[in-house]
Symmetry: C2
Subunit: 658 residues, 2 copies
Amino acid sequence: MRKEFRDLAPPETVHETIASLDLAGETEHVPLRDAGGRVLAARLDAALDVPGFDRASVDGYAVQARDTFETDESDPTLLQKVGTVHAGTEPDVEIAAGECAAISTGAVLPAGADAVVMVERTTEESENGRVEIRTSVAPGDRVMFAGADVAAGERALGPGTRLTPREIGLLSALGIDEVPVVGRPRVGIVSTGDELVRPGEQLNSDAGQIYDVNSYTIASGVEEAGGSVVFYPHTGDDYDEMERILLEAAKECDLVLSSGSTSAGAVDVVYRVIEDRGELLVHGVAVKPGKPMLVGELGGAAYVGLPGYPVSALTIFRTFVAPAIRRAAGLPEPQTATVTGRMATRERYSEGRLRLVPVGLVESGPSETLQIDSNTGDESETVELQGETLVYPVDKGSGATTSLVEADGIVEMHPDTRSLTMGKRIDVSLFSPDVRPPTLFGVGEDDPALSRLLDHLERPRYLSLGSREGLRRLRNGVTDIAVVASGDPSQSALESRFETEFETVPLGSWEREWGLAVQAGNPDGIEGLSDLIERDLRFVNRSSHSSLRSTLTDAIAVLAAERDETRHECIDAIDGFEMAVRAHESPVRTVLAGTADAGLGLRVTANKLDMDFVSLGTEQVRVLANPDRTEKGDVATLQSTVSDVEALFDELPGYRRS
Amino acid sequence: MRKEFRDLAPPETVHETIASLDLAGETEHVPLRDAGGRVLAARLDAALDVPGFDRASVDGYAVQARDTFETDESDPTLLQKVGTVHAGTEPDVEIAAGECAAISTGAVLPAGADAVVMVERTTEESENGRVEIRTSVAPGDRVMFAGADVAAGERALGPGTRLTPREIGLLSALGIDEVPVVGRPRVGIVSTGDELVRPGEQLNSDAGQIYDVNSYTIASGVEEAGGSVVFYPHTGDDYDEMERILLEAAKECDLVLSSGSTSAGAVDVVYRVIEDRGELLVHGVAVKPGKPMLVGELGGAAYVGLPGYPVSALTIFRTFVAPAIRRAAGLPEPQTATVTGRMATRERYSEGRLRLVPVGLVESGPSETLQIDSNTGDESETVELQGETLVYPVDKGSGATTSLVEADGIVEMHPDTRSLTMGKRIDVSLFSPDVRPPTLFGVGEDDPALSRLLDHLERPRYLSLGSREGLRRLRNGVTDIAVVASGDPSQSALESRFETEFETVPLGSWEREWGLAVQAGNPDGIEGLSDLIERDLRFVNRSSHSSLRSTLTDAIAVLAAERDETRHECIDAIDGFEMAVRAHESPVRTVLAGTADAGLGLRVTANKLDMDFVSLGTEQVRVLANPDRTEKGDVATLQSTVSDVEALFDELPGYRRS
């Protein structure tokens, strides 16, 4: 079904091929007012002198310097004041020997005068219009002569200059109100795939529709790299339609990007159009992900086809396309686009082609160490991290959009690299120069109180992967915190098992009420778990990583003992015990949608969705920190916020202090 | 005349006062399409499951997993194909035991199926519609279940999140097409001063008009800091007019900045309006420059009055105002807004208030060292710079706009700091996060060939301050190159004097023809210097830092000897010898304007302005490098470009290889 790529181009070839294409936009002439951040397309020489006249640098009196030559505090000179010159007016006086004129800063030096005495060294005798001068000045003193700042004909700014406020200032001084700037490359984005729906439009999930992720993601990347974006309508896999749209985009743009579909049909149609109507220069690249990448030309425009999975599309865009757009836009690679860190885990690889590994970043604690394999043998050595950033791989090709926000950037693993050892220092190309490492990284239970607490932190990253995964990652030294929940308020079996193995620092805890969410008014009259076992009711569970599922299973075990049945018998009797959904609201929403009669969930969720709730108990939620990270700013902030968690309980029914 | 500021507020108080004012804009709701770079104003939780359906992760066959449990390559299973499901369509089949359906990546898993077998492990028997399955799969294999990526109710992004491409991607996946973002603070810019003219408009230099530099400079800084700008008309020093405009700006904006005038009158009027109609919180700050800074409130808006000189205005804006705008916009201080370097010179200070020193940056050479005073006594020690950035003070309060582009940022000297010693490591706050140190820094002669050569460099900084200053700065170890010119092609007296003292590396040289520019057709029939001495002609000279002036003086000395006169007598006989203008085009332009009959200049300039030219000789222009800097990229680039300087001579009449 899918086209096979036999001769994969090496990544260097792809870089060279894209570099050989002309992505440059046309020089634009923009108002100075809007020129900030743009790049000058040509040298600008001064067309006038700045200042355009001999200008007083201080408030004082315009004089002929030779009148003051013998003057000092003890032997002042008296000059006759013949007028006043204000800034912005043409002098109506001329200064002869023995005369002076009051002058303000910035005013035109009147004819005859060749210096200014600052007002502090003078006294004006109001009765007779004479001015006492108490200092000598040389010709030119306190005067900025015409052209002294910038002279006509001087080189002002060169081509390629990035226009920051100071350059805007110089151009203002020269009276330039329109500047030639390097044009933004116009980038057309054609999103392919019948199943894609633009955000904001109505989605038909039953028909397998999903929102188009790549178009806006890549558009945002294009704009960051200095390009301007034109969107073209979604296209399916009809050849004529695809041809029409690609040709239109190629005519209007400097670069056309197709992106969006994981369906082989659409990709094949794009491929055929480029081959028929343009030139296909690269078809398949020896890189993971991104093997099916296309590079070509179409109607004078460059063309690049990106892979369909969002993280893959952004990875290929960041690695191969964004640098080319930047070059065409005359912009430097941002200094903040790359960071250095150390691998927090070991990553193996053996496919013999370049691998672009999406990675997440986490800041290490101030005195944290890492136990790494030594270079020389089997013994391990201890490295002091000294606050270095830790780097860990994310997204094993799952295609998940959540991987997008879990990943901060890309590490390149070269084809002959078999593994990245733990502790190895590596460069990370960030997905955006604005990406900064999270200030707190946690994994654990999905909880509404936690979600609110996280709002107080600067840049938290939290993955709702359950208590077990939270503790596993905390033990591995990657995360700052784990959030675990258990139905047994004294101690969770799970947690105690882990706690025998590694130390954690409790930051705080709270309790939440759990049970069954049912339709408003409880039409089935459900009173407890026995109803699920005995009656023909459809139940919906949480997925296996959730603490609520374990807590439920424990509760069923207790009930089974009371009923003198096995736990297994009870579970088998519940219709839908295996119908597991992921987030804390999901089962409750399933009931709300009418697909089930009872859903495992929290009182707070049932309340929020105006449903009834059958209480079955409480869970204790605990926030545990990595001992190496307790000094990190946002870990400390979370600790102090957790200690004040009651403040949230007003809007969280079923919550209480533990 | 000027208001005196008696109780100067300490800078910390100014920071606190500005921080206490509310600059926050209103939350905006922007299309996702335009949300890149903005900051989320509220937490966004997922309102739907992603994917919204159980989704095939590969191309293959949807099956009931239990049908495959005993299957392997040697013992395949045959299933009956009952249909096909494409991505983006609703399945029209249901899978029973023993059945399967072809399914493409991204398509909806049909009812009855619970796993997908990838196509590579199957063979479809076209004749009978049966499919051979050669691997076993477990329930859920190759299926991404509804909500597995993002589940409804999950925390998606928190308040304060900067929206980079990956966040745009997540929001796209959630179908969100409008996001609440932190509003950009609205900043009104009121430029004061009768003498100011907006760039692009006609300037009347005779009336002392100058272009308004601060409005656009500060506007660009406001936008960089995340604010939006509203300009208010230029105002003079009429109280009623100023009051009307300030009140209008205060009503429409979160912050009002007044800026632009150095005239005391306008500043006093602003001061009175704020005091009468609002509240003046700070009037005068113990900081240099920026003493007359004002901070206040007016009609619910914050108000800050900036000093008039462009470098001072930008310095005060950068130090006190930009951080407050960033905070209000929810943006972090950019990582690139500060760099660390070492003082290249010693800077003394003793005014007892905070000094904000505008500084320039220059990259040191790879093996450059600096001789610095030791901490312990009088001996000096040698520091290896290891490529560190050197920092040197610029602009001694001259008010020049060129200082704007010579300065890269600001060093804070605290009131109790008496001096910054050479070699001291200091932090520099850059004027813009986009400012980067020049890739080459040169000082010397103003020359059109040089100007063109500089166009080939990345970020050159070149100051036309003449040969003497060029050599002086080269000797001081600050600049990378000096460009010197002299009428004596064998060796300049100036240069030889310096060269006995320090080593330079010649990068290349050329010759340029100099003489007198006269009106087209040479109406006065000027043939040489004797005409200037003997006849009643108005001459215009270059200023004293120019090589042409020295070259002219040398030529007059030769002529004087021939005429049996002293050089002084000849010079005295030239009307306008002291009328000196700065840049290489300036004297020629003066002749063109009719203010003089003959101007000192180059043939190339006379040609460019369609004037006649009386040749008097040639000057040799030499490019000399600091030996420590020859390995810097753009010094090397300049060297190779200079070696090819002939390529420019077609468009530079009077130029030739030396």
